[in-house]
């Protein structure tokens, strides 16, 4: 590699040559895009430099512009008229937020993270990102830089937010996968699991940000394509939420040096993985959390002294995206030889594109430079003036005096042709599982199995490796109960110590339901995230959502059809619940191809919904562990026979066809009334019914609180006459909760919940016995909380 700049001969190239260039240079551009670039340069009567072509490829990458979500989609569903959708994002996500129109949404979809109001002085920012491809190749580095990147998103929002909370959700292959069954070139799920957790741990802990919420899911289809979602919540002063760039402002880079790490990350993540991807080590960045901590320390001081006007992080595409985005409306001039390098020998395009970590770019009025430099020196952070913003509306990059990029900003940002894509969907037909009532009279073993299944089993060994107490604000911890080891529905933090104003963060994710219908999977993810918020004392009224889609290759009509189904659900359910999206992201092309056999694997369609809620008074928060013997246990919300994609079917080897439906006309009043009952201190503990249904929820509440339960299935409100105990125990219908109520509040609580289906299932007992009686009055489940807890704690213990 040399310092030379090369030209790409594209203006006279034929289609085959254009595609060869796109593939050989990992540009991930299709023919139409290459032709658009060709036309542009043909008019200029010159060929692009390598720096220019790379800049366009980064800016137009799926990762940076989300072209699938903006493309025109021709969608067909069996038996229905073909539909034309002009962009999934504007049609289903953005429109939902606009129609819901919450006054407390400060900034949505425009900045590096969404912003909502918190109190009189501060707003909150929230962003969730994925770092899937890097984590597949190098789990530790990939996950660490994933969390590092999303922290910089918060820091790059407005004029910079102070990071106050991390949330992480991982999807891995099954931990017991035999080595022989590993797809070629992939790492064992256990190795990925360990590496990812260590990466998030070491980065988050060093940054001093509590990691207090998350989830870990397992499915064999994640083996070659693990998913790593990293989220960050930040606190930002109300008067620091806007940014602008003025011509003449200096372009200042702050933070780490630039090396050859992470080159082509943006375009790499816009392609499928195959069995040779492990050789692409250089696309994974190298993280240094202490560098990032120094940047945060320096920038927050500079922010409070008003020393810069705009800020963004160097993420995908490095300086090329950061400067390109900041200067979109003005113009920018950059001198690459000024960039501090880790080592010599980088070509100009490598300097420009490198995704070396821990770098931010700020726009500094020249009068403020000296004061900024003083702060940065005191905090020991390297700071360099790279150039200035101009009024030329051109992106001009120089290297040792010669022009290496001279691009029209409008072409760069608006020149990308809209894609037209085909999408189809047809319902799957899975084998249905009959009730096992005629085979067994006892479901105790089933409950053990469910509690021990890796998706449900305790994640304590992971959670404890994260510092979830730093900053002193976490008031509902990820682990709760009499022994501090029960699974909390959500975490609650008070970012200002001494203030009772709190923030709740929760998530919902149900990839198993997408085997039945991605619409139901997406709808259920939203319902689950909201249930978790409500279960600790939050309200729908003050909740905002984030959507993170991880999908297979959207160029394949069936994958895209599933995406359309999910996006439709996002619109329908969010508008019905009145909970707006404030930010989101997608990671597509999560597929693996074995180049020798040609075998193709896609991940299950996976939508993560993250929810954030502002809670006025932390005193009202509750946890899921039962509090006292003699208290009553109610189920809130109606149970339907909905076991398609359920964990109960899963442990018996079935998928089924009736995944849980979300019925906001029932779910919304249920959640609203329950929120108000909790606010009125009528509820001692509350747990949402999700994986494993009522049985698992009840068991978790009981063993977390250290008391037994005696329950009866007869009083469960159901949709129809259900005669099967197993369906009642394990159905995963949405919008349901188990709550604990003191006997003296029985009437008040029941009156409070008028018009919402509730049923008293039994009581908390002063024993360790956990007993459930079935519809006929016979005991169908009998064990002790110690046995249940042990089943739940053992599988992922170390």
């Amino acid at each position: 590699m040399s310092n030379k700049v090369n030209e790409f001969q594209i203006i006279n190239a034929n289609d085959a040559e254009l595609m060869r260039i796109s593939q050989e240079e990992t540009l991930s551009l299709n023919l139409n895009e290459m032709q658009t670039i060709q036309d542009h340069f043909a008019k200029l009567q010159r060929n692009p430099t390598d720096v220019e072509l790379e800049t366009i490829a980064q800016t137009w990458s799926e990762h940076c512009v989300h072209k699938t979500f903006k493309s025109m989609i021709i969608y067909s569903e069996k038996g229905k008229e073909t539909e034309q959708i002009d962009g999934l994002f504007p049609t289903y996500i953005q429109r939902a937020t606009e129609e819901i129109d919450k006054p407390w949404c400060v900034s949505v979809f425009s900045d590096n993270a969404g912003i909502i109001e918190f109190d009189e002085t501060f707003n909150l920012v929230f962003k969730v990102e994925t770092h899937n491809h890097p984590s597949a190749i190098e789990p530790y580095g990939g996950a660490g830089t994933g969390i590092g990147g999303v922290i910089r998103d918060a820091l790059g929002t407005g004029l910079g937010a102070k990071p106050i909370l991390n949330t992480d959700v991982f999807c891995f292959g099954l931990p017991d996968t035999p080595y022989k069954k590993l797809p070629k070139g992939t790492l064992h799920p256990k190795r990925v699991f360990k590496g990812v957790v260590a990466g998030v741990r070491d980065y988050g802990n060093r940054m001093g940000i509590p990691t207090a919420n998350g989830a870990i899911l397992f499915d064999s289809r994640y083996t070659a394509n693990p998913l790593v979602f990293c989220g960050n919540v930040g606190l930002i002063p109300k008067d620091r939420c806007d940014k602008s760039v003025e011509p003449g402002d200096l372009i200042v880079a702050i933070g780490g040096r630039t090396g050859r790490d992470g080159i082509h990350g943006a375009t790499f993540s816009s392609a499928e993985l195959d069995d040779t991807s492990e050789n692409l080590g250089s696309v994974v960045q190298i993280g240094n959390p202490i560098m990032e901590k120094k940047i945060v320390d320096a920038l927050l001081q500079a922010r409070d002294r008003n020393l810069y006007r705009s800020i963004t992080d160097c993420g995908a595409g490095g300086f090329s995206s950061a400067v390109g985005e900041m200067g979109e409306d003005t113009g920018a001039e950059v001198h690459l030889e000024r960039v501090p390098l880790k080592y010599e020998g980088l070509a100009p395009w490598e300097i420009w594109l490198s995704e070396a970590q821990e770098r931010m770019v700020i726009a500094v009025p020249s009068d403020n430079l000296e004061e900024l430099m003083e702060i940065c020196e005191a905090e020991m952070v390297e700071t360099t003036v790279l150039g200035k913003f101009t009024d030329t509306h051109r992106l001009q990059v120089f290297y040792e005096g010669s022009v290496v990029v001279d691009l029209d900003m409008h072409f760069l940002h608006k020149g990308l042709p809209q894609h037209v894509k085909k999408a189809t969907w047809q319902p799957s037909q899975n084998k249905e599982m009959p009730s096992r009532d005629n085979k067994t009279e006892d479901y105790t073993e089933d409950l053990y199995k469910l509690l021990a299944s890796p998706n449900i089993a305790s994640k304590e060994s992971v959670i404890r490796q994260y510092d979830h107490e730093v900053q002193g604000g976490i008031v509902i911890k990820p682990l709760v109960g009499v022994k501090n080891d029960g699974p909390s529905d959500a975490c609650v933090t008070t970012p200002i110590i001494g203030s009772e104003k709190a923030v709740i963060v929760a998530n919902g994710i149900n990839p198993k339901y997408s085997d039945v219908d991605p619409y139901l999977s997406a709808a259920s993810a939203i319902d689950e995230a909201l249930r978790n918020i409500v279960a600790v004392g939050g309200t729908l009224e003050k909740t905002a959502l984030l959507d993170n889609f991880c999908w297979g290759n959207p160029d394949k009509p069936d994958r895209l059809g599933a995406l359309v189904r999910a996006a439709k659900a996002c619109y329908d359910i969010a508008t019905a619940y009145g909970t707006p999206y404030i930010s989101g992201k997608d990671s597509l092309y999560n597929e693996y191809r074995d180049t020798t056999t040609g075998e193709q694997r896609a991940i299950p369609s996976t939508l993560l919904i993250s929810a954030i809620c502002v809670m006025p008074d932390v005193c009202k928060a509750i946890t899921m562990d039962v509090k006292s013997p003699g208290n009553l246990i109610y189920v809130v919300g109606k149970t339907y026979v909905e076991l398609g994609g359920s964990h109960y079917f899963n442990i018996h080897g079935y998928i089924g066809n009736t995944a849980p439906v979300v019925r906001p006309s029932e779910g919304k009043p249920t959640m609203d009334k329950l929120s108000s009952a909790i606010d009125n201190s009528l509820v001692c503990s509350c747990h949402d019914c999700s994986e494993g249904g009522i049985a698992v929820a009840a068991a978790e509440m009981a063993f977390s609180g250290g008391y037994g339960m005696l329950l009866n299935l007869v009083n469960i409100p159901t949709s129809e006459e259900t005669t099967h105990d197993d369906f009642l125990l394990f159905s995963e219908s949405n919008s349901r909760f188990l709550v604990e109520v003191e006997p003296e509040n029985k009437d008040t609580f029941e009156k409070h919940m008028t018009d919402v289906p509730i049923g008293c299932l039994g009581t908390v007992t002063d024993t360790s016995d956990f007993i459930i009686n079935g519809l006929t009055g016979k005991t169908v489940l009998e064990t002790t909380i110690n046995k249940l807890k042990s089943a739940w704690q053992t599988p992922l213990h170390s």
Partner: protein, 270 residues
Amino acid sequence: MKPKVLILRTAGTNCDAETDVAFQLAGAETDLVHIQNLISTKTNLSDYQILAIPGGFSYGDDIAAGILLAVEMKHKLKKALHQFVDDKKLIIGICNGFQVLVRTGLLPGTELNPQNDNEETAQSTTLAMNTSAKFECRWVELVTQQSPCIFTKGIKQHLYLPVAHAEGRFTAPPNVLTELETNNQIVLRYGNGTKLSTEKTAYPHNPNGSDADIAGICDITGRIFGLMPHPERFLTKWNHPRWTREELPDEGDGLAIFKNAVNYAITNLK
């Protein structure tokens, strides 16, 4: 007048903000000061009555926890630190700060090392990798010991505080441990409500495998205190992991430690 607390910061310090709040709640005036400003004498340590070294990962804990900051303090702030100690002022090191104090030799203190040339304080104890071989965050029970420690004077016998560290296993040669016992320099031990006092506390109650269940020690004067648990993370009852199920006082167990320091400074230091 309010006593002044210097909360020392450097690259990787990350418990400074809550330590700051803790001292303010205890009635002190506080400054967060980067070590560069002390080295350049832009800020003078002598203007303060209390020095707090908060938790975090100073310089990434490269080589070992706290070592680089300790070296920097020993070499670049030697005079100012000696003066501070000679002036009978207070020093507290929490978590990474405790690791730093141990590596500077300020804890357990020079008197334990007569072979010392007096010029340089030497290290006689260490905080090693947890026996669980990983970072762990959990709440622990602590038993306050008879000691001259200013920070724990009159404090209740059983404290409940969180730990969050990978390198917190206090260990020392047997003679040093005996000396610590004899001098009453052991301030806090990990405890377990049900165990007999002569028994060693088992994991996870002793979360890191520390010798003699040691969670915190002081120098022989009681003015320098280091501990692995985080008192600044338990200032109000909302910090307690079981506030939703137990009756608790509004004030957290940790605050008393800061109040003791501030009250001592008000009476004895200027």
